[in-house]
């Protein structure tokens, strides 16, 4: 389907071990969906499988971006097709500045010889940084090298803003953040919300959803989506815990 990110009967795992047991989910553009679930429910596996991480093997089902399957594509091709993953633990790249990294990522989306103009690039970068309330000195630091938890997550959101994906998956973006950092990062995500972006927020805690208010909440358990509902479902989950939804709803 056009304008949706669809996950259909996705089965995947590491080696012998299957973690996702036929997961279904649809995120239309313009909406924010949240996935909540306990540790070990397969939330982060889902994010990594979608992005094409080499450790995971897909055993069945499909992931479709605007109706096209992306499972056969290399991770960089998926990214250039419009899928963005904000990492739970972003990697450090010593010696490579944020400015250079972002520029390389943007140029990778263009034809050889049509590199982005430097002035145009910095205008864009500074504009996005202002939007996210990020200090300009940030760009001359090496990517994530020696960053605090909050700085790393802000850097993820800055990259998301710069790359302009069609669909963004935020994997435990709230982990390791104090309340101030959480507000800053949420503000960033909210400012990017719009009709051309579908967002999937993966979280363990309801707290994040006070700041990034979802259109739909999904509950994940044992490698499947076991319950979906409006944003109030998140509060219910917070109050009742996960146990009452552990048994998958019959199909």
């Amino acid at each position: 389907m056009k304008n949706t990110l669809e996950i259909k009967g996705l089965k995947a795992g590491i080696g012998e071990k299957e973690i996702l047991h036929g997961l279904n989910l649809t995120v239309p553009k313009g909406e924010v969906h949240a996935i909540m679930g306990k540790n070990g429910s397969g939330k982060s596996t889902l994010a990594k499988v979608m992005a094409g991480h080499h450790d995971y093997e897909v055993r069945g089902g499909d992931v479709l971006l605007d109706g096209e399957s992306i499972l056969g594509l290399a991770p960089d091709v998926r990214a250039r097709t419009g899928l963005f993953l904000a990492f739970q633990y972003p990697s450090e790249i010593p010696g490579v500045t944020i400015a250079n990294f972002m520029r390389a990522a943007l140029n990778a989306r263009r034809a050889e010889g049509e590199e982005i103009d430097a002035v145009e690039y910095y205008n864009e970068l500074y504009q996005k940084m202002d939007l996210l309330k990020i200090d300009r000195s940030f760009t001359s630091r090496s990517v994530n090298d020696g960053f605090s938890g909050g700085e790393k997550k802000r850097n993820e959101i800055l990259q998301m803003a710069m790359l302009g994906p069609k669909y963004a998956v935020l994997d435990e973006t709230d982990s390791g953040l104090d309340i101030d950092a959480l507000k800053v990062v949420s503000h960033g995500v909210n400012s990017l919300r719009g009709p051309n972006l579908g967002i999937l927020v993966i979280t363990h805690y309801q707290r994040l959803l006070d700041y990034i208010v979802p259109d739909v909440v999904h509950v994940m358990a044992a490698g499947r989506i076991v319950k979906s509902g409006p944003k109030e479902l998140a509060l219910e989950m917070e109050k009742k815990g996960y146990d009452w939804v552990e048994t998958p709803v019959p199909a």
Partner: protein, 473 residues
């Protein structure tokens, strides 16, 4: 004309055909294969060497023949060099010719990517025997000549400026320093001779490109640079374009002399084809308050052994070696630096960065020597290694000998890896695997490369990009 036998290295994965150009067999000035006194006579006759040079060469030949291979060096691979199978001299005008159409497409593409000017491409690909750069550089040449700077080939230098040439030739690196310096001393041809008079500061870096001819890029070039009191010079050797040459043994000797208060910077960026043995001896002699700096980048080759050094002979002299080595699949970069402190208050600085990819191997071999009687000497050594893919290996042998009091040495070493997670992270931003690796490597060398002249840092970056692109499927 390959004299290399890869018998006991089945896993080397070297395309032996790479860089093998077809040579016509009728050299007008060909010394034949093997090395005897007759070969030396032939070289001397053809070049018109004066008698003292003939004598020097013959003595060197004796030393070369008597000296065993340096067994304490890292690699057994040296034993695969069959000295009798090489041609030791091919004169100018007798270089191979082939047409541009015969140059392989990937070679052409490499030149294009590196932005090598067309004239130079033809020379580097072996299409043209001579490269006339007179026009391009005539202004600089005129300017330095007006300042009294001598910049000629080594052959011209020894004939036309014997009074300076003989005074220093073979003094910084004696013939018997090692087997390969002896070999070079016996059969040298090509290379540069430069003399910068007292107090003259040469503004523009001088380049070997200045007056490239077929000899200049020879197998056994010999360079001697003397910078007189208070004078300054930057010299750039080689170029970042790969040399597609079938000559598989390269053994140069470079001697630098910085007189009182002089400053001399020598920059090398080399990119050899993967069948080349690159065994080079480079050393500088720094007099009182003089400064010698080597910037040395080694990419490619089958085996490179090179340890630029500075003998800190005068009080308060300074020596520095900044080096980058990149060992790709099947290659071994055995590089490092030597700092011999021989006067009070001398300082030396060594920064070495090595990158090993796949089965590539990088070795840092250092020597810092500060004898007991000296005071106020300082050395700083930093070696950082980056490994890409698990089979890569790296070794560090930093021999630091400090005696006496009031001398200080500092040594830091690090080994890091480009992890699969890091590459995945970058790929998730849209960079291809090759682009991601190349960015990691550039990040690793970035701080050091910033100290290089602009055009070299740009070319080096492009070179790294090309190497990394080739290293992933």
């Amino acid at each position: 004309m390959s004299g290399i036998v890869a018998q006991d290295k089945p896993d080397l994965q070297i395309d032996q055909d790479q860089g093998n150009f077809s040579y016509p067999e009728d050299y007008a000035f060909d010394a034949g294969t093997g090395l005897t006194e007759k070969t030396i006579d032939y070289i001397c006759d053809t070049k018109g060497d004066p008698d003292w040079v003939r004598e020097f060469r013959k003595k060197a030949l004796k030393v070369f023949q008597d000296k065993p291979l340096p067994t304490h060096w890292a690699s057994k691979d040296l034993e695969n060099i069959h000295f009798d199978d090489f041609r030791y001299y091919l004169s100018k005008g007798a270089k191979p010719k082939r047409s541009w159409d015969e140059v392989p497409d990937d070679v052409k593409k490499t030149f294009e990517r590196l932005g090598i000017p067309e004239k130079e491409r033809a020379f580097l690909a072996g299409v043209e025997a001579q490269f006339d750069s007179e026009a391009a550089y005539s202004n600089i040449k005129k300017a330095v000549a007006e300042q009294g700077v001598v910049f000629v080939g080594s052959r011209e230098g020894l004939k036309e400026h014997p009074e300076i040439f003989r005074k220093w030739f073979g003094k910084v690196i004696p013939t018997g320093d090692n087997k390969f310096s002896a070999l070079n001393s016996a059969v040298f041809s090509g290379g540069s001779f430069i003399y910068v008079p007292k107090g003259v500061k040469v503004k523009h870096p001088l380049q070997a490109y200045f007056r490239i001819n077929a000899e200049n890029f020879g197998q056994f070039e010999r360079t001697l640079i003397i910078v007189d009191e208070g004078a300054e010079l930057t010299y750039m050797e080689g170029c970042t374009a790969p040399k597609f040459d079938s000559v598989t043994l390269h053994s140069a000797v470079v001697e630098l002399v910085a007189m009182k208060g002089a400053k001399l910077q020598y920059i090398t960026v080399q990119n050899w084809s993967p069948n080349v043995f690159n065994l080079v001896t480079k050393r500088g002699l720094a007099h009182e308050e003089a400064e010698i700096k080597w910037i040395d980048c080694n990419i490619g080759s089958r085996l490179t052994m090179k340890y630029p050094g500075v003998v800190l002979k005068g009080r308060k002299s300074r020596g520095e070696v900044l080096s980058i080595a990149l060992a790709n699949n099947g290659q071994h970069q055995d590089t490092g630096a030597k700092m011999i402190h021989a006067a009070d208050e001398t300082t030396s600085n060594i920064i070495s960065k090595s990158i090993s990819i796949g089965s590539g191997r990088a070795t840092y071999r250092g020597l810092v020597h500060i004898p007991r009687h000296l005071k106020g000497c300082k050395n700083n050594t930093e070696c950082d290694a980056l490994l890409i893919n698990s089979e890569s290996r790296t070794d560090t042998y930093p021999a630091i000998v400090t005696r006496g009091e009031g001398n200080s040495v500092q040594h830091e070493a690090s080994v890091s890896k480009v992890s699969a997670e890091q590459i995945f992270y970058m790929q998730q931003r849209g960079l291809s695997e090759g682009q991601a690796m190349s960015l990691s490597v550039n990040g690793f060398v970035n701080e050091l490369v910033r100290q290089f002249p602009m055009e070299y840092s740009v070319e080096l970056k492009r070179l790294i990009d090309l190497e990394m692109e080739g290293s992933v499927g």
